[in-house]
């Protein structure tokens, strides 16, 4: 069995997520090795770099050809050992580019979906804390269709958080929003980083956005990790006129 590298990330934090995967999709080849600790790990790179492919593999929506994915002390995927935990048993929250709220359920039922599926008893304190954090208390009885883009994305974040994930994946959560809405949501995400204590992997191709939220940066290009480190990686790319 492949033992993923364990140890300590730059700031002396424990590794939460260890990814070492390869995948071929047509002519596109991806080979990514990355580690994430607590805080927000940014997956940064131009469109087509394979960022969404990587998070889909972490979430279990896409199966790598080779390699392993380990979250905490749980092996989620190991090609050699034949381990592939299905998405619904990975306990990984996923905020998609589009909100993907369930149109036939109210906001409250959307938020409650993860708890219901896992059969956990209600936890009013947890619920109240997260709707306060995201400021969505006044939307609970509405249907997703009647919400603004920013409200919808906040509900989507809340829905992912309320399933009590061991890791939260955010794939360009602001991409579908206009500049005003982006400014509206970003503070909530920063608050989330500081309050919720859920490690996050945050995909974006916008350096300015990541500078506000990321604690660690992994730069992807054409299916490969080209650099990993601190926020200074964002500056260099700006100088390259990317992002």
């Amino acid at each position: 069995m492949v033992r993923p590298p364990r140890g300590h990330a730059g700031a002396g934090e424990l590794i939460v997520l260890a990814v070492d995967v390869e995948k071929e999709l047509g002519t596109f080849k991806l080979a990514v090795r990355l580690e994430a600790a607590g805080g927000v790990t940014a997956l940064f790179g131009p469109s087509g770099a394979g960022k969404t492919t990587v998070v889909n593999m972490i979430a279990g929506l896409l199966q790598p050809d080779r390699g392993s994915i380990v979250l905490g002390d749980k092996v989620l995927f190991d090609a050699a050992a034949g381990i592939n935990v299905p998405p619904h048993r990975r306990h990984i929250g996923y905020v998609f580019q589009e909100d993907r709220l369930f149109p036939h359920l109210s906001v409250r039922q959307n938020l409650d979906y993860g708890r219901r599926m896992s059969g956990r008893p209600r936890d009013p304190d947890d619920f109240a804390r997260i709707i306060a954090l995201l400021d969505i208390g006044h939307l609970l009885e509405r249907r997703p269709r009647l919400l603004s883009g920013g409200e919808r994305q906040r509900v989507a974040v809340g829905r992912a958080l309320l399933m009590r994930p061991g890791l939260l994946l955010l794939d360009e959560p602001l991409a579908s929003l206009d500049a005003g809405r982006k400014r509206e949501i970003l503070p909530y995400l920063v608050r989330l980083r500081d309050d919720a204590r859920v490690p996050m992997v945050y995909v974006s191709h916008t350096a300015a956005e990541l500078r506000r939220i990321a604690t660690k940066v992994v730069r992807l290009d054409a299916g490969y990790v080209v650099a990993a480190g601190g926020l200074e990686l964002l500056d260099r790319v700006d100088a390259d006129a990317l992002g």
């Binding site: 929506l61 589009e98 369930f102 149109p103 009647l146």
Partner: protein, 231 residues
């Protein structure tokens, strides 16, 4: 106007029972086949597709005849079911329900299949990441989102079953109180001198029944549609 004779009432109630039972039994199969056709690629899919629509294009008498030789007392399936489970179709109302269900089946499968094809699969993916296994995703996301199509399919099947004549009369004959539906009763009355008035009453009743079914289904479909669109 509604002073139907006991025989006529029997035909009306029997028709309703047959159509309801036919629809109820066809529904799980309709959803399963609709799902297979909408979601899966497999060897023989084109064949299954054709087979499902066969009752729609075959002369009903042919369908009835095929049912008779396969589900009749001496038919291979009919004999097996009678011997092992005590289920008898030939010349029983259950046989009428079977033929009505089969005749209505293509009309049921099509809207269900279309509704399933129209569902955004990414919502099911999202449900998966929220901890719902495949069956729970189907139950809580797929099925509710396909509900308008399922209702439409059930209503079409019910309507077809209510009016079915050719296959039913070929398969289980025209026995008052057992297999004589409204259609068969009207047909019989028209053969009898002086039966025109009774036939007319039944015709009127058939029209009312059909309209009522339409109104009820419209109401259901609108409600389900609104739910799915999130109003």
């Amino acid at each position: 106007m509604f002073d139907l004779s006991p025989t006529e009432w029997t035909a009306v109630l029997l028709s309703l029972r047959i159509a309801l039972v036919a629809t109820a039994f066809a529904l799980p199969f309709g959803i399963a086949i609709g799902w297979l056709l909408a979601r899966k690629e497999f060897w023989g899919k084109t064949l299954l597709d054709g087979l499902v629509y066969l009752p729609l294009v075959l002369p009903p008498v042919v369908t009835g005849y095929l049912l008779l030789i396969s589900f009749g007392k001496k038919g291979p399936i009919g004999a097996f079911l009678a011997d092992h489970f005590g289920i008898v179709f030939s010349f029983r109302w259950t046989g009428a329900a079977l033929s009505c269900g089969i005749m209505g089946f293509p009309l049921m499968v099509r809207p269900i299949r279309l509704a399933l094809e129209a569902i955004d699969r990414r919502l099911e993916e999202a449900a998966g990441t929220l901890g719902a296994g495949r069956f729970l995703v189907f139950l809580t996301i797929t099925l509710p989102l396909a509900l308008p199509g399922i209702i439409a399919g059930a209503v079409l099947c019910f309507a077809r079953a209510l009016g079915e004549f050719g296959a039913t009369i070929t398969f289980v004959s025209n026995i008052p109180g057992e297999t004589q539906t409204i259609s068969a009763a009207i047909y019989t009355l028209m053969q009898i001198p002086g039966g025109d008035a009774a036939a007319g009453r039944l015709v009127l009743f058939a029209i009312i029944l059909a309209l009522a079914a339409l109104v009820v289904s419209e109401w259901f479909a609108r409600r389900a549609g609104m739910r799915v669109q999130g109003n």
